[in-house]
């Protein structure tokens, strides 16, 4: 028997007499089938390993730009507003603690939003009035379970697209709605948007390092990673939906089933 071109075992058929051609054929078929099953099982486990590796990579992916810019702002407030500097240091610590969290592939919407709130507190300190945030969260969806760090990258993208390439103020809206058996979450910015043609090849293209020369790949956490993890958790029907156009902002939507077998927050 072989899987992926490697010999992984042998199937032996024992017969009293000279084996009939049918038995030989059946034995061959069985060996093939077993080999394929072994290969599939391996694929599954390697996909799972990959998903875990991706979460690990995401955790380590707090952008160096964010860190140094946050520290610069805090350093400035130490001189001008020490109390605020102290608050920001605590927010920064909690934010990184959540992102570096070592356990659990899943989290609750409430926890994810708490971390996003800390992130936005720091970003508002950096950008002042230029960054406007609108949050609209239905309280009944707060306990919904979703993959760890699958909303935060979208908010980081929105802040970056909504502000960084555009003078004046930028608005980031985060909305979570109750929709029967599902929870619908959207993250929207009124920034420069993206060229939809880069979307035609799939979401993976958008998150490619070359989508915007001003974005460094290290900071660009990527929509594709989130898309893949949502699909692997809930099925292919639950990928990300991106609506965008050059100069018309970006809206990213996801649907999360309220209850899904095998998806729960491990404590």
């Amino acid at each position: 028997m072989s899987a992926d071109g490697r010999v992984v075992g042998a199937l032996v058929a024992v017969a009293d007499e000279r084996p009939a051609p049918g038995l030989v054929q059946a034995t061959l078929e069985t060996a093939h089938w077993a080999g394929d099953q072994l290969a599939l099982a391996e694929l599954d486990s390697s996909r799972e390993r990959l998903a875990r590796a991706e979460v690990r990579a995401l955790r380590a992916q707090i952008s160096p730009h964010f860190i140094y810019n946050a520290l610069t702002a805090i350093g400035s407030f130490v001189r001008t507003d020490p109390e605020r500097a102290r608050e920001l240091i605590l927010e920064f610590a909690e934010f990184t603690r959540y992102s570096f969290r070592a356990h659990g592939e899943f989290t609750t919407l409430a926890e994810e939003l708490r971390s996003i709130d800390r992130y936005l507190t720091i970003e508002r300190a950096r950008f002042g009035e230029r960054l406007q945030v609108r949050l609209q969260i239905a309280p009944e969806v707060l306990p919904v379970t979703l993959p760890f760090l699958c909303l935060q990258p979208l908010v980081e993208n929105a802040v970056r697209h909504g502000l960084s390439r555009k003078p004046g103020t930028g608005m980031v809206s985060i909305e979570a709605r109750d929709a029967g058996a599902e929870c619908h979450i959207t993250v929207e910015d009124d920034g420069v948007g993206m060229d939809p043609t880069t979307l035609t090849a799939g979401i993976a293209e958008v998150s490619g390092a070359g989508s915007d020369p001003a974005d460094d790949p290290g900071q660009h956490v990527g929509l594709s990673n989130v898309d893949e993890r949502l699909r692997s958790a809930f099925g292919d029907r639950f990928g990300l939906v991106v609506e965008t156009g050059l100069g018309s902002g970006t809206k990213v939507s996801m649907r999360v089933p309220k209850f899904h077998p095998g998806v729960r927050v491990s404590s």
């Binding site: 160096p64 730009h65 140094y68 810019n69 610069t72 350093g75 400035s76 300190a125 950096r126």
Partner: protein
Amino acid sequence: MVNASGFLRVLAVDDEPPALDELAYHLRADPRVARLHTAGDATEALRVLRDDDVDVVFLDIRMPGLDGMELARVLRRFARPPAIVFVTAYDDGAVDAFDLGATDYVRKPVRAERLAESLRRVIGSRVVPSHPAALARAEEDPTIPVELAGTTRMLPRSAVRWVEAQGDYARLHTAEGSHLVRVSLATLAERWADAGFVRIHRSYLVQLRLIAELRLVNSGYVVVIDGSELPVSRRHTRELKDKLVRAAKQDWSR
């Protein structure tokens, strides 16, 4: 804001208010900075540059609209381009920055000492266009403002042959004549030590390499510069001899 003793006109550009505030705070504190402008983006920066002369621009790279790199490319095409120092959070643009002819590249959060070093590099690397006479070779050859018949002239230090103390003033002797400036000899001796000036007497400071002779006369030594004999006091004799011997040795070994 205006700093009377400074001479550099500086523009700081950053889109993040606290970062800009911190940068401005450190630059203002530097005595070499005469005037500081701030701008929150490239548009505002260009407006400042349109209305005022600026010697150096401290520039954040990531900004909305025209970013720091793009703005630097525009500034390069100015008739008298200001020096550019990039100030950025992360070193993703250092190579590009120097390709654009940036004088320096400073990382955030900024240190006061690092900014001081940047200003030193700016002064050292270029003739600041608006005061060409005042700041020519500013690092190697600073100038001294001297009054002469109602006009202030910028006298390069290299023109000074020797200095004579006259009360609270010092008389700077050049090949052409002499100028009285309000500065103590002790201060000059300290500041100009690296440029080869040595104290030979309570009242005299001379450029070492211009000493033609060291002569023993009845009561002690004198040095000859430009035909003038200047007395060397006993307490400065040993040091002067050492320095002359050392300077001579350096010349031979060259």
